[in-house]
């Protein structure tokens, strides 16, 4: 499975984690990333409001010719965005596993402040090992 990047957004639509797993990707400025995450948060909220089906969640999957974006929102309001290549299966299972890693190495880390940018060495390491190891 080819995963391009991972974004984690906190409750207030702030970007707390951004990582590219593919070297070929162009890097944006950090401000651009913040704008991206804010925009997505807003679009997600709008989508859940204008949906014809009552009480639906926001955008879950966004698929284009060049990439596939899967969004997983936790019950606590944290959003995990996984960008992978198009027509990819099992991205939701990957996201769940990433959520598990997040709960283990970020939330249970006493040196991490909730809602702040994620700077946990162990999380980075385990994430990299997991992403590389997906068949």
């Amino acid at each position: 499975m080819v995963v391009y990047s991972l974004y984690i957004l906190n409750k207030a639509a702030g970007l707390i984690y951004q990582r590219d797993f593919n070297e070929g990707l162009k890097r944006l400025s950090s401000n651009d990333y913040l704008v991206l995450s804010g925009t997505f948060h807003a679009v997600y909220a709008i989508a859940s409001q204008i949906s014809p089906v009552p009480s639906s969640s926001g955008i879950e999957v966004l698929e284009t010719e060049t990439f596939r974006l899967q969004c997983f929102q936790t019950l606590t309001g944290t959003k995990f965005l996984l960008i992978s290549e198009p027509r990819q299966q099992n991205t939701d299972a990957v996201l769940r596993r990433i959520y598990e890693l997040y709960a283990d190495y970020v939330i249970k880390n006493p040196f991490y402040q909730i809602e702040m940018p994620v700077r946990c060495e162990l999380f980075d390491r385990h994430l990299a090992t997991y992403i590389r190891g997906i068949p």
Partner: protein
């Protein structure tokens, strides 16, 4: 091992989160107690008061240690009371140590102590190569910084060990240290042998 048909189950993550919050809470408690002492207008000994009247760093650290370790002490006492129920009597201190390393550690941390060393004169060194409480810790800087900041989180297990030993009849002092996350080493000095 302990199959109790009326057992109630609780998620182990709750203990992890509780212990993580224990240290900041103790620091806040010590801070408040310190402020209360200075505002009372009592005569403070020289080491306690600094330029602005607040507790010195060394004193504060000692107070937090006492608080956290005291909490652990009570927990340790209660734990051995409950879980040494159906065991045969302990023959000597080494037997007590083996109980701690295998049974007690398994109860609290789901694993046994990796290494037990002794000089047969009352000094025991317990090594845990993947100590549960340290497994998730990592800071931005990593390495030495994490080790120094992780120190307070070892005080609670020290207390648990000291309380457990005390209730089994072994008076001891317990010191813990870590050189690399997640290895934890506990030095136990038994003062009196029963």
């Amino acid at each position: 091992m302990y199959t109790d048909p009326h057992a109630i189950y609780l998620n182990l993550s709750c203990l992890d989160f509780l212990l993580v919050e224990l240290i900041p809470m103790s620091e806040r408690v010590v801070e408040v107690i310190g402020e209360r002492k200075t505002s009372n207008g009592n005569a403070l000994p020289a080491i306690l008061s600094e330029k602005d009247g607040r507790i010195g760093e060394e004193e504060r650290r000692g107070a937090v240690f006492k608080h956290v370790e005291g909490l652990g002490y009570r927990v340790g006492q209660g734990l051995v009371e409950r879980f040494s129920q159906d065991r045969p009597r302990f023959t000597d201190v080494l037997d007590v140590m083996k109980f701690i390393c295998k049974d007690l550690w398994h109860l609290i941390f789901r694993k046994q102590i990796d290494n037990l060393k002794t000089n047969h004169r009352g000094v025991y060194v317990l090594t845990d190569n993947s100590f549960r409480l340290l497994m998730r810790m990592s800071t931005e800087v990593g390495g030495l910084d994490t080790v120094t900041r992780a120190q307070p989180y070892l005080w609670f297990p020290c207390g648990v060990l000291r309380g457990a030993l005390a209730n089994l009849g072994v008076q001891a002092t317990v010191v813990a240290e870590t050189t690399a996350i997640p290895v934890a080493v506990f030095h136990i000095q038994a003062l009196r042998q029963d």
